[in-house]
């Protein structure tokens, strides 16, 4: 093993960090949209859609991200071919973003739903008692409180997704790990490449954690601490 190689590999790998982060941002953005929609479907028990949402969440929770990735990568082109859209030459990044977005969507939906259910019933009743309608109650009273409560779980989920991006290379995405594999092929120093990758991932996770915990504090100061329960 050659420690100095790490210094050499570091800039080469970190210059692909933006691809990894791009996947993450796309996944979180797609996931938020899906998550909110699915959560609302589940909360209001929209007939028909509720069952679909349940199956979707169960499936995403029930299968490894790797399998989901392969399913989308091989399945989406087949599906789209039925409507005569050819994505067989599309950038694999697209498939990765969709897969991770779908996966985030399922977790976010459950997180949001749990938080909404976690808001005390008294809050709803108070809102109704001053004459709010259902929408006002949801938008002004329940959701703001739910989002603050959901934040720590949301943060965990995002960090989980970041770690999951390490598998994107399996369908040929040129992110950090993908670049690492080409480095291995050319340098034959696999261990050093993976050490460098680990250091970078760890650094990013630490930064995300710091950022999230700072914003959590801000959010709770702004929203009033919901954590403390006064009887």
């Amino acid at each position: 093993m050659d420690i100095t190689l790490i210094v050499d590999f570091f800039p080469k790998l970190i210059s692909y960090l933006h691809i990894t982060l791009l996947i993450l941002v796309a996944a979180v953005a797609i996931g938020l949209v899906i998550g909110v929609v699915i959560a609302l479907i589940r909360i209001y028990k929209v007939p028909g859609f509720n069952q679909l949402a349940l199956i979707y969440i169960s499936f995403m929770r029930g299968t490894p991200i790797l399998i989901q990735l392969f399913l989308i990568y091989f399945g989406l082109p087949t599906l789209l071919a039925l409507v005569h859209i050819d994505v067989s030459r599309a950038n694999p990044l697209l498939f990765v973003a969709i897969t991770y977005g779908l996966s985030c969507g399922a977790s976010f939906a459950e997180i949001i739903r749990g938080a909404v259910n976690g808001v005390e019933k008294g809050q709803t009743e108070a809102a109704y008692s001053i004459g709010m309608n259902e929408k006002q109650m949801m938008v002004r009273i329940i959701l703001p409180q739910a989002l603050v409560m959901a934040f720590p779980n949301f943060a965990n989920s995002v960090i989980g997704s970041l770690k999951d991006t390490s598998l994107a290379f399996t369908i040929g995405v040129m992110d950090m790990v993908g670049r690492g594999n080409t480095l291995i092929a050319s340098s034959l120093h696999a261990l050093e490449v993976y050490i460098t990758l680990s250091i970078i991932y760890y650094g990013v996770v630490i930064c995300l954690e710091k950022g999230f915990s700072l914003s959590e504090k801000k959010l709770q100061r702004f929203e009033g601490s919901l954590a403390v329960d006064t009887k």
């Binding site: 109704y128 008692s129 001053i130 009273i141 009033g224």
Partner: protein, 257 residues
Amino acid sequence: MIQLRNIQKSFGNQLVLKGIDLTVNKGEVVSILGPSGSGKTTLLRCINFLERPNEGQVIVDDFKVNSKQANKKEILTLRKKTAMVFQQYNLFKHKTVIENVMEGLIIVQKQPKETARKLAMEVIEKVGLTEKANAYPVQLSGGQQQRVGIARALALNPEVILLDEPTSALDPELVFEVLEVIKRIADEGITMIIVTHEVSFAKDVSDYIVFMDQGEVVEEGIPTVIFNNPKEERTKRFFKRINREEDNLESNLTNAI
């Protein structure tokens, strides 16, 4: 004027309210007393349709709502004419004191922000919390929170304020400050229906007393009559027990000293 006509409510096959009739005149304070489980809370919640009665009518002013046909819009109108003070305060946790009070004014009554703020400050002053206007509910004592609850209801200038045991979740030493605020607004001629276990307070503040037991109004009348001269056996028994409890409490206290 508030009128309840033949309000019936059941949970499952348990009939909790067995046809309640009640009239509350403008400016009156009516207290509802009765043993635990007699249906007091349920009755109060039927008035603003937090529980939908199975049968009967609620009339506020000239606005009549039939329990069976009532649609969302009617219920909303009814709720805009009433306000409620909860046992557990139920302040909006993510909003400051003044925001709690302004919320209904801005969102429901569509008042301009500045008018709402001015009005809210006036009401907050009335309950003695001017200094806490920008505090969040978690930063307040129970008594202070309940005073905000009262301010939130009062600000809406409703036809009636419904109070469900407003002091029963409070530590004993905080009860007084809340009762005092309620008495003060009662003196201003605000119509109120109060469910309470504080008998002497009810005696003091009410124009009219309703005694309930097992989902029925057993006896009603002006305080002096109900407290000094109850006719019904159940009412007598209830007051006797309460008096005994109070005596016990006092003798315990004297013993302790």
